[in-house]
């Protein structure tokens, strides 16, 4: 079996206001898996994802990334990346967000093209001079997430689920090795929720992308996750298969008296 794509060791994040969001978290992420992170709001899930692509600065610890893109094998510590290396890390790790975070006033196709910003020089991107290959790729990824016909709509005209699919296409545009998803369906209705999750599974199984996804609903976790870890107050409290989370574990992760809610 190949080495894990990410090895996180003793990851600590303390915010300037003294909040200790992560108190020394260690786990591995296997290449090609669909890893789900669960936990209450404020348990450190979002902080953890944002440390992985350095949107937030980890306070201490290691994030060993074994990159295999562009036919090159490279192993380095994301937590110690500096300057241009940070941009490289972000380029290799796509991310989608609860609130989609696309540019609503711009066209769908342009939003997808922004996924190539990391490999396009500032002036070329500002003048809109993307390569023919990137334009073709952007179109292909829009087709992949089923909204190829919406390419020239303004992004704000799309529904929430469609906007999240634009965000997925943008992330794919980076040709990433890992896709981070921070509560990707938390602001969507239950029906749309499954469409978006299905596309995430599709990129995981068909494109072989490693997915790390924060989720709220356990039913979704069991349906889509291949492995799950749970955070509680900044600490890792569970690691295992989604179906192994029984009531005792559920109570431990979410606190006594919590009850499971089903989405379908």
């Amino acid at each position: 079996m190949s080495q894990p794509i990410l090895s996180i060791r003793n990851l600590v994040k303390t915010y300037p206001n003294g909040v200790r969001a992560l108190k020394g978290v260690s786990f591995d992420v296997k290449r090609g898996e669909f890893l789900v992170i669960i936990g209450l709001s404020g348990s450190g899930k979002s902080t953890l994802l944002r440390c992985l692509n350095r949107l937030h600065e980890p306070t201490s610890g290691e994030i060993i990334f074994r990159s295999e893109s562009d036919g090159m094998r490279k192993e380095f510590d994301i937590a110690k990346a500096e300057g241009k290396q940070i941009y490289e890390v972000r380029r290799k790790i796509g991310m989608i967000f609860q609130h989609f975070n696309i540019i609503e006033r711009h066209s769908v196709i342009n939003n997808v093209l922004y996924g190539s910003l990391g490999r396009t020089s500032a002036w070329r991107s500002i003048l809109g001079l993307y390569s023919q290959e990137d334009r073709r790729k952007a179109k292909d990824y829009l087709d992949l997430v089923g909204i190829g016909d919406k390419a020239h709509y303004r992004a704000s005209q799309l529904s929430g689920g469609q906007q999240q699919r634009v965000a997925i296409a943008r992330a794919l545009m980076q040709s990433p090795e890992i896709l981070l998803a921070d509560e990707p369906v938390a602001s969507l209705d239950p029906a749309t929720c499954h469409t978006v999750m299905d596309y995430l599974r599709k990129v995981n199984t068909e494109l072989g992308l490693t997915v790390i996804c924060n989720l709220h609903f356990l039913s979704l976790v069991r349906q889509y996750g291949t492995r799950v870890i749970a955070l509680k107050a900044g600490e890792l409290v569970y690691e295992g298969h989604p179906n192994d989370i029984d009531e005792a574990w559920f109570a431990r992760i979410y606190g006594e008296g919590a009850r499971e809610v089903h989405v379908n």
Partner: protein
């Protein structure tokens, strides 16, 4: 606001209010004229600080008893701010009495200092003079209309050029004077603070004063007026623009940063789309404001229709003044209507 900072501000504020009220009573009793006050300035200042010291002590003593002072109401940090009991009327609270006394004192003082005298308004002789002037102004001399039009066009372009030169400069400055962009490093904070202070300083100097400076620098004429408005506009626009930048939502910024985009790309693709419309709105409003100011810059030699107005007014040629007022009012009205229409349309 920090706990101690809030307490210091509260005490200073209460101290000044106390000194102000006591001095008001003293002045009301002793009725000194302003020459006497100026002669005794040293003593007056000492008296003020002495009373302020007493006021500060009183404030601390009253606060120690848990009574809310006016300073506390204004400067208490957010977490200590409590809703006042709605059943207690204002005049039965300590701070309410402080407020009412200070307002009464200020109004009475203002009445005296601005020499308010309603009787002057109804004296017969001055009324007839004013009426004659109104009549002349209301009967404009249209023969100078072509000249007035030429001059108002000059004013419009003074305002336009001042805005046009100010916009790109303010655009660039707005990013390096926005806290959310600069606040991440100590050097950034220094630049931010320096820029904000200099904006506030140059904004606190009215364009008419800038015009006086520039007429000396580049001599009289529209160029001086344009420069005066430009300096004022850069500071105003940069401050307004940077406040828009500070209000942008973080989501799109994270979204673009996560793709591996550089700093310039993040600004261009995540921030600029969010600020374009408010920028346009503020810019048109600035042009509108600049036009109003451009019409009077001529009074100090800044060119435009103000120059003409000053000449005719100096010679008491009221029908000509009337023409100029009509032209000014018309153009300002049209510009104002246009500007508010555009601003409503892009909201």
């Amino acid at each position: 606001m920090s706990e101690t900072g809030g307490k210091i501000r509260r005490t200073i504020f209460d101290a000044i209010v106390f000194a102000y009220l006591v001095i008001f009573v003293l002045v009301a009793i002793m009725r000194p004229d302003s020459d006497e006050l100026i002669e005794q300035m040293g003593f007056n200042v000492a008296l003020f600080f002495g009373l302020a010291f007493m006021g500060g002590v009183i404030s601390l003593a009253v606060s120690a008893k848990g009574i809310k002072t006016l300073g506390e109401v204004i400067y208490a940090p957010a977490h200590r701010r409590t809703v006042s009991d709605p059943d207690t009327p204002l005049w039965q609270t300590f701070w309410g009495v402080q407020l009412i006394l200070a307002l009464i004192a200020t109004f009475v003082l203002g009445w005296v200092l601005t020499e308010v005298n309603p009787l002057l308004l109804i004296e017969a002789e001055p009324i007839s003079q004013a009426m004659r002037l109104f009549a002349e102004v209301a009967d404009p001399d249209w023969s100078i209309l072509p000249k007035a039009i030429m001059k108002i066009i000059e004013s419009i372009f003074i305002a336009f050029m001042a805005t046009a030169f100010a916009v790109p400069i303010a655009f660039v400055l707005s990013f390096i004077s926005a806290r959310n962009i600069m606040g991440k490093s100590p050097i950034g904070m220094v630049i931010y603070t320096l820029l904000r202070v200099s904006f506030n300083l140059s904004r606190s100097i009215e364009p008419i004063l800038w015009a006086i400076i520039f007429t000396i620098w580049v001599s009289f004429g529209p160029f001086a007026g344009m420069l005066a408005l430009m300096v004022h506009s850069i500071a105003s626009l940069a401050k307004q623009y940077s406040e828009i930048v500070e209000g942008v939502s973080d989501g799109p910024i994270e979204g673009i940063e996560a793709t591996g985009a550089g700093r310039l790309q993040t600004v261009w693709f995540a921030i600029v789309p969010q600020i374009v419309l408010p920028y346009i709105s503020y810019t048109i409003y600035r042009w509108d404001t600049n036009l109003r100011m451009a019409t009077i810059l001529g009074f100090v030699g800044g060119g435009g229709i103000g120059t003409m107005l000053m000449e005719y007014q100096g010679q008491s040629r009221w029908p000509q003044v009337g023409t100029i007022i009509v032209v000014m009012a018309f153009v300002v009205w049209v510009m104002d209507a246009f500007s508010s229409h555009v601003r409503a349309a892009i909201k």
